[in-house]
Amino acid sequence: MELELIRKCKAGQSRFYEPLVRAYEPAGLRLAIAMMGNTDDAKDALQMAFIKTYDTLPRFDLRRAFGPWFFQILRNQCRDMLRSRKAKFNTEALDEQLENRPADAERGPERLQQRGAAKELLWRGLEQIGTEHREILVLKELEGFRYGEIAQILDIPEGTVASRLYHARSALKKALVDMNAEYP
């Protein structure tokens, strides 16, 4: 199905691009928010990434998976925007977007407050560790990509993924400890 849509888009029929955009938009937005730190910049990055993806579709090898290829373009777009706009990852805009899970609400307001504080702390930690560490954690933990897919998205050897994840997790732990958070 996806392959057929891509084939039609490659042939210049842009109306077949809509299902692809809608399918990848939620995951793309999560990654972009995690990289940019706010919804407005994330949506700009996502929009540009979809346009760039469509423009480069003629060069897309149909034997490759579309997902990792799109996320690679999105990740590069976010990095470019962070560089060119001097935009700073900023957690202030995230507070309203964090979703509290129903289970938290059932356990009472105190639990809800604790979880909210823990999430905020975690975001502040992610803010401090820098784009390179943050992006690999987001790809692994929020998007659930396998090492092979992460390697493809980040354009690095598969063997490097584990080492990068180790450094990212260690950096996050250090950031949390520096904020006087007891971890775990």
């Binding site: 929009q47 979809f50 706009r85 823990a118 584990a162 971890y183």
Partner: protein, 148 residues
């Protein structure tokens, strides 16, 4: 006499620990890490900490984009814009060429042709210079990324 020494838990690298945590190891490598874990409380503590961190990050959820707020409309508009521009430019060139031909071959006096031609060329030159100036400014415009 049995000269065989008990097998020491082999060294577990940080990369292997990450692969174990993320379920990326084969059966043999997994067994190797589990042997290391059984022999080292420090390694167990590290694994528990990374597990907790993994679970907490996975707990950061966002509301998925609803259809109403989808970026598709903007994407679609941008994808179709070049087609609109191409049609506009091609249509304008055809009409201008035809108009010029009709005007040049019409039986009006040469003075009328020269006057009208001068006005048309003047308008085109002014338009071209404004476009050129705008394009040059765009390269250094500090507000080019500001959204309306």
């Amino acid at each position: 006499m049995d000269t065989q020494r008990p097998e020491r838990p082999a060294q577990v690298t940080s990369e292997a620990l990450m692969r174990y945590l993320d379920g990326e190891l084969g059966p043999e490598e997994r067994e190797h890490v589990e042997r290391g874990l059984a022999a080292s409380t420090e390694l167990q503590r590290d694994l528990a900490m990374y597990r907790a961190m993994k679970s907490d990050i996975q707990g950061l959820h966002f509301h998925p984009a609803s259809d109403r707020n989808s970026v598709w409309d903007q994407v679609n508009a941008r994808l179709n814009r070049p087609i609109g521009w191409v049609l506009l430019i091609v249509g304008t060139v055809i009409w201008m060429t035809y108009g010029t031909y009709v005007f040049a071959t019409s039986p009006v006096s040469p003075w009328e042709k020269m006057g009208t031609g001068a006005i048309a060329i003047g308008v085109l030159m002014l338009l071209a210079s404004v476009i050129w100036e705008r394009l040059r400014e765009l390269e250094t415009d500090p507000y080019r990324d500001v959204q309306r």
